[in-house]
């Protein structure tokens, strides 16, 4: 009886291995059959991915998933969110539990080349910063010698921190937690003098503090953190879909297309807009999508500027300036290849 059980288990295991072995072009089919996109997000980071009072996920990273759902399924709400800690995120994507990882994840060489993953672009250019309690009276990160630092496990933050203190000949005590809630708690209780993370996340975590005014963010930015969505390597079609969904968001802002005016502009005769909404040009064929894929994104999610303002910019509690995240034509880094 036992032996039969073992062989049955063996058969199941090996079958499941064989089934998932060919990853090519299966993600889109899976999404369409299922009727929703599986999206990996953070466990709660205001502005990026965080449930609102009604329990709906909102944020910059959430909107990337919504854009992909609008492009592939015609409905931005057809997304299932999976909250993941920094440590869990890559395994969840590798194992197929999610279709996209959109969780303030920094694009690095190791992650892009040896984890079997691909970064589909950048939706926020960030950099690592420090937050300290006001009472410490610290004005610069260079005064932090000997401090205890709260960080989250499995992040680039851990590595940059080490580089920075080493370069500046300073010592520190790393206190490493698994979730951002614990990290914040460690900072609030005084276990650490500093909380370090991507600067945007510092602003987000700061509003989670019991007394946000008691903490300040130091001016130093010690690293480059290009954050973007990640997909599995080997499925080029899905990779293209996510990449071009992002490009559509940025191109829409450049063309002046917004969720409010896209219906109106659609009827006009600006060639680039006609191509965008799928009346001309490459349409949706090469991506395996319907021709109105990009129209659906703008109509249901908005353009990149709208996404930014609503979640982290002037229209939000975080009130972060566009800075380097402005369009290239306005002095920022946001630049998308033309849709033609």
């Amino acid at each position: 009886m036992k032996k039969i059980g073992i062989f049955a288990a063996a058969a199941v295991v090996s079958l499941s291995f064989v089934q998932t072995a060919s990853a090519e072009d299966v993600t889109l089919k899976g999404v369409q059959e299922r009727g929703y996109v599986q999206c990996g997000v953070s466990t709660g980071l205001p502005g990026f991915s965080n449930p609102d009072e009604k329990g709906n996920w909102i944020g910059m990273d959430v909107d990337v998933c919504r854009a992909v759902a609008a492009a592939t399924l015609g409905g931005a709400s057809k997304v299932k969110y999976t909250p993941l800690t920094a440590k869990e995120r890559f395994t969840a994507l590798q194992s197929g539990e999610i279709d996209i990882l959109s969780r303030n994840t920094t694009w690095t060489q190791t992650r892009d080349t040896s984890l079997g993953l691909n970064f589909a672009g950048v939706n926020y250019y960030d950099g690592q910063g420090f937050m300290v309690t006001k009472t410490l009276g610290v004005k610069s990160a260079l005064e932090l010698d000997g401090a205890a630092v709260c960080i989250q496990a499995g992040t680039t933050t851990e590595l940059n921190l080490s580089d920075y203190f080493r370069e500046n000949n300073m010592k520190y005590q790393p206190v490493v937690f698994d979730t951002s809630d614990q990290t914040v708690k460690g900072f609030e209780s005084g276990r650490c003098d500093i909380l370090t993370s991507d600067a945007s996340q510092l602003y987000a975590l700061r509003i989670k503090l019991e007394n946000p005014d008691g903490a300040i963010v130091l001016p130093e930015i010690i690293s480059k953190e290009p954050l973007g969505p990640v997909v599995r390597q080997g499925d080029d079609q899905w990779f293209n879909i996510v990449k071009w969904s992002m490009n559509a968001l940025i191109n829409a802002e450049e063309m002046g297309l917004t969720s409010a005016n896209v219906d109106e502009m659609k009827g006009g005769d600006i060639p680039a807009v006609r191509r965008f909404v799928g009346l001309d040009g490459p349409k949706g064929k090469g991506l395996g999508l319907s021709d109105d894929w990009a129209y659906n994104i703008v109509k249901q999610v908005g353009n990149y500027g709208e996404v930014f303002d609503r979640n982290v910019g002037a229209g939000s509690a975080l009130n972060i300036e566009r800075g380097v995240n402005a369009l290239w034509s306005k002095g920022g880094f946001m630049y998308a290849p033309p849709m033609r």
Binding site: K87, R111, S114, G116, S162
Partner: protein
């Protein structure tokens, strides 16, 4: 004659009809199948990892780690390798497990004996303890000690002074560090010399007890001997030791020995939780010893403490050791909950950060599993050996 032949043929059945041979054949087939299956899984995994572009192999162990660790028993910083993070994590796991096993054993034995005390209050307190701590999930207890107790301590600037240069704050417990100066070697020599003398003393006392029946308190005498000799040598050598006191410099206390709250919380929780189980094991062990033995001992005029030590506990140990072993194994494995509060054990450092920075999940998890398996097997082996020794005492 022909009859005889027939008989011998009957006594030697054909291969298929001989249950022994048949079972050997089946076992060989079974082992073969299992090996083939394992090879197939390995091969298949390697193939799948390759087609998905996930790197494999143990080369990452020699790369620079690039991150720092809160508590390291051996020299470590970001320039050491990922392989070294494995050792650092392992040592931290061993540290908390070792301390946990010792503390839980002491506390557990005390509670187990207390549960059988003639004093109503002591008995009830022990019972309530066991019922409470055995029934609350360990993770909650760890969180309780860490977040609800130790994190409420004051900041370094408002540290609680415990006297003698010892401070307690939210960053941990700071105690003065004894630093040996030249001449301390004499004390060490005195210590070992008196230790050896004690061994002879104990042997002599035992021999005397066997031969003459006269009792000599050799253990107490040895203790006095060791302490006395060391103390005298220490003073004669001119007190060759200074204390380095922890001092508040900048953000934190520097100098002295610091015990981080992550270690304290984990150790407290593991000890208190496991001691509740050990107490029950000890109680049942003692209860398993026939009451007649105790009565016989008291009839012979043996005082209660020596009855416990010489008659009851040695016999109870035979019942106690096997389940005690599994409690030790549980404690060691439970120490991996460390990651929940950021104590840098093997799971947190190696199967956590290292895994994440390198992405080599299969290698890292395999190594981690191998470690827990080896530790568990070693502990089991040791306890089995000890159990055999105890069992042999039986006459």
């Amino acid at each position: 004659m022909p009859e005889n032949n027939k008989h011998s043929a009957n006594s030697k059945p054909s291969f298929w009809n001989d249950p022994e041979k048949r079972s050997i054949l089946f076992q060989i087939l079974m082992v073969g199948a299992v090996i083939l299956f394992i090879l197939y899984i390995i091969n298949n995994t390697m193939h799948n990892l390759e087609t998905r572009g996930i790197s494999t192999g143990f080369g990452f162990l020699s790369q620079n780690a690039g991150f720092d660790i809160l508590l390291t028993l051996i020299p470590f910083d970001a320039t050491y390798s990922f392989g070294r993070t494995f050792v650092v994590g392992l040592l931290n796991t061993l540290l908390v497990s070792f301390l946990g096993v010792i503390c839980a054993t002491i506390l557990g034995f005390m509670l187990g004996i207390a549960r059988l005390s003639h004093n109503w209050l002591i008995r009830k307190v022990a019972t309530v303890y066991v019922e409470i701590f055995r029934n609350i999930p360990l993770l909650l207890q760890i969180f309780f000690w860490y977040f609800a107790v130790l994190q409420l301590l004051p900041s370094p600037k408002q540290s609680i002074e415990l006297g003698g240069g010892t401070y307690l704050n939210v960053r941990g417990l700071y105690v003065p560090e004894p630093i040996a100066e030249s001449g301390f070697g004499w004390v060490a020599i005195a210590f070992f010399a008196s230790l050896i003398a004690s061994v002879f003393l104990v042997r002599w006392a035992k021999k005397r007890l066997d031969e003459t029946g006269n009792f000599f308190p050799a253990y107490w005498a040895s203790l006095g001997l060791v302490v006395g000799v060391c103390l005298v040598t220490f003073l004669l050598a001119g007190s060759p030791m200074t204390l380095e006191y922890p001092e508040l410099k900048g953000f934190n206390f520097q100098g002295g020995i610091s015990i981080i709250p992550e270690l304290s919380a984990l150790l407290l929780a593991l000890t208190i939780y496991t001691a509740a189980f050990i107490a029950e094991i000890v109680r049942s062990g003692i209860e398993a010893v026939d009451h007649g033995q105790t009565e016989a001992a008291s009839a012979l005029g043996l005082p209660r403490s020596r009855t416990l030590r010489l008659i009851v506990i040695p016999q109870a140990m035979r019942v106690v050791i096997p389940p005690l072993t599994s409690q030790y194994l549980n404690l060691i494995k439970n120490s991996s909950l460390a990651t929940a509060i950021g104590y840098p054990d093997l799971v947190s450092v190696f199967a956590g950060t290292t895994l994440n920075q390198t992405g080599q999940a299969i290698e890292v998890i395999a190594m981690t599993m191998a470690v827990y398996l080896s530790i568990s097997l070693l502990v089991s082996m040791f306890m089995n050996w000890y159990n055999k020794r105890m069992a042999l005492v039986e006459r």
